[in-house]
């Protein structure tokens, strides 16, 4: 039995030896070949789990894969950029839109804040105070808007005082964070060594540092400090948050803090923890709403109202001025200056003919009611036909028997009038701008024979004076002829009619005054042409005129007609083609 047992033992040992030689010996390829055959399946079954386990164990998978992935991406960018772009395109579009939206939102918010804080009285005041205090406007605004705000948070290595990481509430980097960290540590060292040590053997520790702008809250830990720079008065919750963050950092970065040799790279991941400390609280909303630029809005509103009012006032003034300027269309009125101060105050300087319409009447006729009319009026004598006619009408109103007709600015008078009244009327009309032979026709004006005016005048002196006046009037009459002509034109005939009228009046007065008279009709000629012919022409001119007078009814016996020939006076000899008149009178012998 024992032999068989020993034989079995020897056999199994041999088998094991053979098996060992098969696996590990020269025939090991038999096993490895079989394993290789199924290697893909075997590894594929456990690959994911194995990678996960190894990553958990020492994190080496990431380290191995990272360069491979980087190389792959680099290769892909270099050789298959089209595919990469196509793959990333949908994502890139969204990312760009998101980035642009975020930028615009941030920009609008900052712009709104800037406008809000710049256009209020308070904003300007803050700007001035910030300038006076030599701090930036944004810092001052933050100090005014926030009850408190944590501006910066520093994580400082306690032993060396070196800055491990810092975060800021605004996007700008704090360039002095390193120096602040070191100086805080130096101050802390100074405090710790300079003041007494407490009962537990711990040194004094700086907790807060206050400046004009900041409160520095210092939370010391065994290996690191967390320091927060706070604007305003920080509440207890900031201290609590700092303490929590400090504890978390000590818990998460224990090894890194203990082994710190100057490399702050491992502490980059502490940013999220430090961000939690960037707390802030705004002042109450009522105060914020009070920050609305109501003052600026009121000012803008008032300015708009003022400008609108001024524009409306200017427009109405211009309208009124345009209306008032129409007064110039009235005859006998000239506007020298017009100043419309407002709708109720007007300064007007005009020239006005006394016969023209009154300014106030014209304003009333046109429904222009002006309370303060400062009118400066100067009189002038207008030659406007309408004004002349108005004056004539005024004069003619005293002569009810006379009818006046205005045609083409010429006044045609008709009716019966006494000799003296006619003289007076003609004088008045002449003063008023109507002159016989120019714009006044009196041919239809008949002497009123029934009028006893002449006879009623008893005064001999007056009659003599009238007699002389008529002679003067006849003496100044003259008829101008064309060169070489003895033809009596229509205007000459009108003058001859007047002459006839004067001679008739003279005849009446002469008989009353017992005076004999005769009318001398003298023809003249210039020195052009033959002298004998000129004598004939001059005589013909006088004869033609006397003939017309005779036709009108003047007795030939009262006329003496003569021709002077050419008038050899050097200054007039070229234009002496005239017929002139004179009256010779003598006291009757009887």
């Amino acid at each position: 039995m024992s032999n068989s047992d020993s034989t079995d033992t020897i056999g199994s040992d041999l088998q094991i030896s053979q098996l060992r030689s098969i696996i590990l010996g020269k025939n090991s390829h038999i096993v490895t070949d079989i394993v290789k055959k199924d290697a893909r399946h075997i590894v594929g079954d456990v690959l994911t789990e194995a990678l996960n386990d190894r990553q958990k164990q020492d994190g080496s998978v990431n380290k191995v894969l990272l360069p491979l992935v980087e190389k792959s991406v680099e290769y892909s960018v270099a050789h298959h950029s089209d595919k990469l772009v196509s793959s990333l395109y949908p994502l890139m579009g969204r990312l760009v839109r998101k980035s642009v939206t975020a930028f615009l939102t941030d920009f609008m918010e900052k712009t709104n804040q800037l406008i809000e804080n710049s256009f209020t009285f308070k904003g300007l005041k803050w700007r001035f105070i910030a300038w006076q205090s030599d701090i930036s406007f944004s810092e001052y605004v933050a100090s005014q808007i926030f009850l408190y705000r944590v501006e910066h948070v520093f994580l400082i290595h306690r032993e060396t005082g070196l800055l491990l990481k810092s975060v800021n509430s605004v996007s700008q980097n704090n360039q002095d964070a390193d120096l602040i960290s070191s100086m805080l540590t130096a101050i802390n060292d100074f405090v710790g060594d300079s003041f007494s040590i407490d009962e537990g053997g711990l040194k004094e520790q700086l907790q807060t540092v206050s400046t004009d702008t900041f409160n520095l809250l210092i939370k010391p830990g065994p290996n690191a400090l967390v320091v927060a720079a706070v604007i305003g008065n920080p509440p207890q919750k900031v201290n609590d948050q700092l303490q929590l963050t400090l504890e978390d950092i000590h818990s998460l970065f224990d090894n890194e803090l203990n082994d710190f040799s100057g490399d702050n790279e491992p502490f980059q991941n502490s940013e999220n923890l430090l961000q939690d400390c960037l707390l802030s609280e705004q002042k109450n909303t009522e105060e914020t709403s009070a920050n609305k630029p109501w003052f600026a809005w009121i000012m803008i509103f008032l300015v708009v109202i003022f400008i609108g009012f001024q524009m409306f006032k200017s427009w109405t003034n211009n309208q009124l001025a345009a209306k008032i300027t129409l007064i110039e269309n009235q005859p006998g009125i000239i506007v020298k200056s017009l100043n419309v101060v407002d709708v109720n105050t007007i300064e007007l300087h005009i020239l006005r003919d006394p016969s023209a319409i009154l300014v106030t009447d014209w304003l009333n006729d046109n429904d222009l009611i002006i309370n303060n009319l400062n009118l400066t009026e100067h009189q002038y004598y207008s030659l406007d036909p309408d004004i002349l006619y108005a004056r004539a009408q005024k004069t003619l109103s005293e002569y009810p028997k006379i009818t006046a007709l205005r045609t083409n600015n010429t006044l045609v008078l008709s009716g019966f009038i006494s000799f003296f009244k006619m003289e007076k009327l003609l004088k008045s009309l002449e003063i008023n701008g109507y002159k016989t032979g120019i714009n006044l026709v009196t041919t239809s004006l008949k002497l009123d024979n029934q009028d006893a005016t002449l006879t009623s005048i008893d005064s001999k002196k007056i009659k003599i004076q009238l007699f002389n006046t008529l002679i003067e009037r006849i003496s100044v009459m003259k008829l101008d002829f064309d060169l070489g002509s003895d033809n009596v034109t229509l205007p000459m005939k009108i003058q001859i009619k007047h002459l006839y009228s004067y001679v008739n009046q003279l005849k009446e007065l002469a008989s009353e005054l017992d005076i004999s008279f005769g009318l001398i009709v003298i023809g003249c000629s210039d020195n052009s042409g033959n002298k004998e012919i000129n004598e004939v022409i001059s005589l013909n001119r006088a004869n033609n005129v006397s003939k017309i007078l005779h036709d009108l009814g003047l007795d030939e016996k009262l006329m003496y007609v003569t021709g002077l020939g050419q008038i050899d006076i050097e200054t007039i000899n070229t234009s002496a083609r005239k017929v002139i008149f004179n009256v010779i009178h003598v006291k009757s012998k009887a």
Binding site: T160, L162, D178, S182, D189, D193
Partner: protein, 164 residues
Amino acid sequence: MIQKKICLLGSSNVGKTSLVKQFVEGIFNEKYLTTIGVKIDKKVVVFENEQVKLMVWDIEGSDRYNPFQEKYLRGCSGYIVVSDRTRSSSLSEAVEIHMLARKVIDCPVILAVNKYDLPATWNWNDDGLQDHHNLFDEVFDTSAKSGENVENIFLKLVELMLKD
């Protein structure tokens, strides 16, 4: 980026602040202003293609009325002890300060014999200086005024610290 805290130690008026000013700002000022407490500057240097940010603690000079302040040495990665070749006593004081510093910290240390632009004092003994060489990792003659060896002394300290 690697950061290192380094300190400058030495007697009063040996030129510690001037060395730092020359190193950081590249300027020298004849006017003497005593440092109170500590003054801290920073400068980034490049050593073997690696940027190193140096936080330079310029510690006030120590004398009989103002004892050495070892508290500022805490966490220091290296320090420079400065002496003045125009004042031989400053060398023995530098050694003394170095001995005191050694008690609280063990790190690379360089001796800077400053004011090299001036003639040495009559009783300055270079042999005496040789005796102290083994106490320091390196000894440099420096001039804050001319800038001689200023950059080198800091770069050497960086080298020593990174190898440490």
